[in-house]
């Protein structure tokens, strides 16, 4: 960019030298409407809207045609051409600069978002996950424990039933004995239980 500006300044100096210093005033007086304008468009790059400048020559050449009539007309034209080229380069530079700044901001916002996600959202979610896992494990353990207890109960129930069934069978046998020997039930039971011990009344 520096080189182009140097060339155009040089061209201007030449024009001034040839056409006399007065072109300045002529030019200043003659400013009406800008014939060089820029168009700004938006380009979408990777989701970021970037501005882009385009340079348009609006056609009507300025009324500077009187500038060079006295002398140095060609130099003035050359100078004008040099400056127009300079403007083209400058417009492109401006466009790059704005895209640059916009991208810079976009990068910063994205960085901020990444940081927020990493340091805030993730730990929270992880906490929730571990809490849920813990609860599920605990419920499972409770279930397991309950199951074991119920099994224990059932076992005891079965044992009780077996015992009562045995008692019942013994009583039945005692009844039979009583019927056979014609003694009372009580004596029958005593006989049954006494077969294990020696009765004093019986001598031998």
């Amino acid at each position: 960019m520096g080189d182009i500006m140097k060339t155009s300044s040089f061209a201007l100096t030449e024009a001034k030298y040839v056409a006399g210093d007065n072109i300045k005033h002529v030019v200043l007086e003659n400013v009406r409407e800008a014939s060089l304008k820029v168009r700004s468009r938006q380009e979408n790059v990777a989701g970021v809207k970037l501005p882009k400048f385009e340079y348009t020559n609006d056609g009507e050449v300025n009324k500077n045609d009187l500038t060079g009539l006295a002398r140095g007309g060609q130099q003035v034209q050359q100078c004008r051409a040099a400056y127009i080229k300079a403007i083209e380069v400058l417009v492109e530079l401006a466009s790059l600069q704005t895209s640059f700044l916009t991208l810079d901001e976009a990068i910063k916002t994205t960085n901020r978002r990444v940081n927020a996600l990493e340091n805030v959202v993730k730990p929270r979610l992880e906490n929730t996950i571990s809490y849920i896992k813990g609860e599920l494990d605990e419920l499972e353990r409770e279930d397991f424990f309950r199951l074991k207890k119920i099994q224990g109960y059932k076992k005891r129930e079965i044992e009780k039933q077996m015992q009562s069934a045995k008692l019942f069978v013994e009583e039945q046998v005692a009844e039979k004995l009583a019927l056979q020997r014609g003694i009372s039930l009580n004596n029958a039971q005593n006989i049954l239980s006494a077969t294990a011990q020696k009765d004093e009344d019986i001598i031998f």
């Binding site: 960019m1 520096g2 500006m5 140097k6 155009s8 300044s9 061209a11 201007l12 100096t13 072109i23 300045k24 030019v27 200043l28 400013v31 009406r32 409407e33 800008a34 014939s35 060089l36 304008k37 820029v38 168009r39 700004s40 468009r41 938006q42 809207k49 501005p51 400048f53 348009t56 020559n57 609006d58 050449v61 300025n62 500077n64 500038t67 003035v76 100078c79 004008r80 400056y83 127009i84 300079a86 403007i87 400058l90 417009v91 530079l93 401006a94 466009s95 790059l96 600069q97 704005t98 640059f100 700044l101 916009t102 810079d104 916002t109």
Partner: protein, 130 residues
């Protein structure tokens, strides 16, 4: 992405200039000058008699005007209002520092480059321009 600045898509936007006389004359010759009905121009010629306040006012006016897309400012003029230029952070209009005849371009003072360096250090400046 809701707070993205509005970038106008205009079909005709002007180029403003704040520079010394020779540069401005050259650009006017090329045709970027515009005087509207209220006699407002889009350029400001800075010479030894212009006060800093005038330059500041012109800068503020150019950056708030809706129809100006680029502001070209000579680097030594930019140095005079460095704080204003540095605190300006809208994407449009784009502020471009140009060298003048007596002051060659000095990238160390360019507000954009130095700001990028300050904000971001390593990569951007190295990979970016020039």
């Amino acid at each position: 992405m809701a707070n993205r600045a509005q970038i106008p898509t205009k079909s005709s936007a002007l180029i403003a200039m704040i520079a010394d006389e020779d540069t401005v004359v050259g650009f006017l010759l090329a045709g970027v000058g515009n005087v509207d009905i209220r006699r407002k121009t889009n350029y400001l010629i800075v010479d030894s008699k212009t006060t800093v306040k005038q330059i500041e006012d012109a800068f503020k006016e150019f950056t708030t005007r809706e129809d100006i897309a680029i502001v070209l400012i000579s680097q030594y003029v930019a140095n005079m209002i460095r704080f204003l230029v540095d605190s300006y952070n809208k994407p449009v209009p784009a502020i471009l520092e140009i060298p003048s005849k007596d002051h060659p371009y000095d990238p160390a003072h360019d507000s954009v480059l130095s700001r990028v360096k300050y904000l971001f250090s390593t990569e951007s400046v190295a990979s970016g321009r020039r």
